[in-house]
Amino acid sequence: MIDLKLILFAMAFGEMALTGFSANENGNKSKKELPNIVIIYADDMGYGDVGYHGVDDILTPNIDKLAKSGVYFTQGYVSASICSPSRCGLLTGVYQQRFTNGQNARDKDPLVELFKKQPMISEILKPLGYSSGIIGKWHLGEEESLRPNNRGWDYFYGFLNGSHSYFKATKKFTKNKDFWPIFRNNEMVDFEGYATEVFTNEAINFILRNNSSISGRPFLLYVAYNAVHFPWEVPDKYIRRVSFIKNQNRRLFAGMVLAMDDGVGRILETLNKEGLEENTIVIFISDNGSPRGQLGDMSSTGPLRGWKGDCFEGGIRVPFIIKWPGQIQPGIRYDNPVINLDILPTLAEFIGLKKIDRYHFDGVNILPYLKGEKQPDETPHENLFWRRGKDMAIRHGDWKLVVEYSGDNHNPMLFNLTNDIGERKNLITVYPEKAKELQTIYELWENSLPEIR
């Protein structure tokens, strides 16, 4: 006698097993409707390094086009002014000071055990069926348990450390880390070519292999170019294409930017050709602002003050774009402050991830703001916070309180960013009560962080 109940149960269970689908995680969307996600994270690219910000000594036609095809942010921030902590924030949606010391070396971080426990986007989206790939610069830990494949990433092609030669990799952990191995998952590979081009090719191949309309599974692709980080090198052909630029250092830099812009163009073209454009969210952000190197005639922070490493705007306000067909109209410019921490919570809400509260995201869902569903005076963040070592900053409305040890003045400075985007006019003696208010709010946040800096 056939037990119908058993058969029905088996069918239901079998269906769930086949689709790898946990009904607990997602109530709304079937896997076919889940959007693909491409996050392109540039390295050390400044506010003044993209054409669409009104810059004429750079060439970024594809990035400019991306900006026009979605929303670009005039006050797009990153949670840290240096590479690794910025990536910690991006990939977790949580202020990285909650689980790191805010500096660059994850392996040497006394809080590394906290970091290992902090859920990462790859791990969070996995139960929903996402295939995940990270191409390029990892910079989130070199020791085995910290490597991408052990942090929920299905595919890794790139390097573990923070800086890399664009032309050469070895198969050993060389004294100069710029020549460390390039990995494909756990294996060191033979490396040939120019890194920005190679990473673009890898990104494209990942998309082709994981085409959601064929596999039935969405993908998460994180393209962490090491462009335009030191060392500053690029083949002649790119420099020739920007020969209109008079300053030799800027020309070299623009050549590096162009190689990445070409790559962005090719990735977008691939999405288009594969019929994935309508169902893929593309995000482009720089990990932090321009480095101090080469005295500003390489990377540019535009009108902003300070550099990579600083809590001034130049270190933390960056090119920031989201293209989201079907959700965000093309050609939008959004002027209220947003931060890289917002990316994961926004995606999570849209996808319908259940029990989002358990992740305690510091970022917020910004989609309603970008769809015009909010009042004009409503902004995603009342406050934004930064801290690295003894440097700090808090943004509260138009006001910003900063302590910055790189300069001469180590005392807190108060700026009104609406009138003074260049942070020139220190108003701390003019508005001492405002400064105190910001200080208090900041201390409340700081008290919620773990002890070790």
Binding site: T174, N176, D236, L252, P303, G422, R424
Partner: protein, 449 residues
Amino acid sequence: MKLKITFLVLFLGTAMVLKATDVRGKPNIIIILADDLGYHDVGYMGGKDFLTPNIDAIANNGVWFTNGYTTCPVCAPTRAGLLTGRYQNRFGFEDNPGPYRQSKEIIPGIPLREKTMGEYFKEMGYSTAIIGKWHTENVESQNPVHRGFDKFFGFIGGASGYFIGENRKGKILRGTRPVLSEDDYLTDAFGREATLFIERNSNRNNPFLLYVPFNAPHGPFQAPEKYISMFSHIKDKKRRVLAAMIYSLDENVGLITSKIKELGLEENTLIIFISDNGGVLNLSDNSPLRSGKQDIYEGGIRVPFCMQWKEHLPENKKIDFPVISLDILPTAIAATGNQVDREWRLDGVNLLPYLTGAKEGIPHEVLYWRFLWHYAIRKGDWKLLKHRDHTDVELYNLAVDVGEQHDLCKEHPEIVEELQQLFNDWSDMMLKPQWGWQPEYCGDYKVGK
């Protein structure tokens, strides 16, 4: 706009930027490069066969180096290192331009991402010229006028005959255009053009950088009869011609230095003289060094090297600590009063404070060489090398054995290990040769013809 200007002024003030503004009174720089001139081919190093009174005078008027090196035992790579102040292996310029490449896209020459001496000096507001042998791939994009030099007279390739006449093959160029003819003996032509350039640029408002890479005494071995007959006492015919070529080289060096003296510019001109690599074996005299051009023993890489700057550098001072051709660029930049920025990642060092005694110590703890199948590393008096024809590395103490006769590997394994590790760390950072003559090293894509 106001914000932008304020910002600009603020950061210019704090910057270590090459100042293009006030160049008046800044010193002229002349760099004279001989081609394949051996360690002992010059009078001041003890050579008796050849006559080099003018080169000797530079040494007598300034400092001369007994342990002066170049970065490669052959021509073009040395020039690439000299012009960039960086080990040329960093950008794959390990071999002379040749038919083999790593890929079709590669064009032999200093990549655009590397800044040349001309480009540094143009940024500083100098007039710049190169007279002589440039030695990259013969394409217009590699012409010196596109690499920071206002004026160019000479040839792009690796070698040239000395009696041009009608320039039918278009070998001798002025800028990017071939000259119609050249009737002077080529070494004389270069001397002539150099002194003309000095005359035209000798006012103090516009200092100049003049780079004169003579091709003398590189082959083919040709010289005017009148000079050859001066050396009839030399039995070996080829060596007699060499003597004549070196005599002409020296005479033209003299034209340059006497022009400087005549114009009253000696106190305001830094003059540097160096050879690009050691002399050809069995022809030049590299004694007491072992071997010569193309080889990794001292005879291939240690060369005549001296410099004068009246009133600024000591006179007739012998310097024994190791220096290298990479030092020329930072030294020249420092001479202009500008600082060498660490961001430029130069491997060369500004020698001036070491030469005047303002700074204690020595400019280089370690020096490195890699040329395809050869490599070497020098630390203090110790030199470890790997020679193509020998299976094992060799270790020499140059203080007691400058002729590299006594291999001390077995006696000092710990030094071998230390130097080998240091060399490996350095070599890890170098690209593989991007072009050249050896497909096993340079890639096997071969340019047609």
